[in-house]
Subunit: 210 residues, 2 copies
Amino acid sequence: MIQHIPSLEKLVNELAKLPGVGPKTAQRLAYHILRSPAAYNDNLRAALEGVKNSVHECARCFSFTENADLCHYCLDPKRTDESICIVEDPADIIRIDTSGAFRGRYHVLHGTLSPLDGVGPKDIRLEPLLERVTREPIREIILALDADLEGDTTALYTAKQLRGLNLTAQDGTRRPLRISRLAHGIPIGGDIDYMDYRTIGRAIENRVEL
Amino acid sequence: MIQHIPSLEKLVNELAKLPGVGPKTAQRLAYHILRSPAAYNDNLRAALEGVKNSVHECARCFSFTENADLCHYCLDPKRTDESICIVEDPADIIRIDTSGAFRGRYHVLHGTLSPLDGVGPKDIRLEPLLERVTREPIREIILALDADLEGDTTALYTAKQLRGLNLTAQDGTRRPLRISRLAHGIPIGGDIDYMDYRTIGRAIENRVEL
């Protein structure tokens, strides 16, 4: 669609690069910004500049933080150092943490293995994970990756690499490592009528005794 | 949702003020921006600054432009000055213009009358429209407003004000003014099964001989 206004077209183009924002939505957003008081434009730019200048990756788990070194989750004294949960993206941490079911530390891979797209083990934060597991007193790993092909591939590869590590506890004995992944099954509130057969198959395999 | 990162929370809050963007979408967008190369953040801020500094309202029709005075539509020599199309928002112009069915000038009201929200005739660009119709050789007005209560109210009020004007042609005779609004009916490709009874009623009333 021709706008006849180059600076407006530029804004529409930039907004259309955001996920889930097509050209029509981008145009609606750009016009909304134009109609809003100038202060909104200023505040939005200041917020963008804020994240650019302040937010960086945590030195230990690679989640986002604006602390000097370690993130909120790595600094929290109420969490155990013995369990870590492996996620693909920093945003996944919020989802998992609000469930309240996990109170350990995290590790963000920043991607999943995808041989078809040329994403190999060196392209995600896997090497630092292996070093971290060797160095820290970790005894449990939960792989919280998406239930798709890339997520499964990454989970299996990561588990294999972890099992190959030679871990020692503080007293010099061999340190065991429990590795698990999230359960597959029917989501809470889910209707069996609408589930695909693979989900139902997994839910039956992993059935829980009552 | 708690982010534990104040600058990220600020960005999520600003993005959530955009139309159609809820807190979850805002969070997804903010994380996407964080994961993108820093150049994207820079380009988006530059584009926002660009529209803030360059785009303003056209002195004649109040659509948006970055020209010194008049907009693309007002400067176009191929358009007739005798027909003007009244719209609520500058974005409506693009939609109407790409239809190719209208090649006159535009006038943007920047809002519709809404007594319940305290929006009266002084709050929209109605007075400049009346002056413009008196001054320019306009002979046809098309009211292209939304088919809702505010749009209908604004169309009826505007038509009444326009009919009250005392217009003279260049030769000193009375200048007639044809006033119309967009037709209501079944949208192209629309399924009668899914139309509400008021639309069907209008489509029957306004039926076209074949």
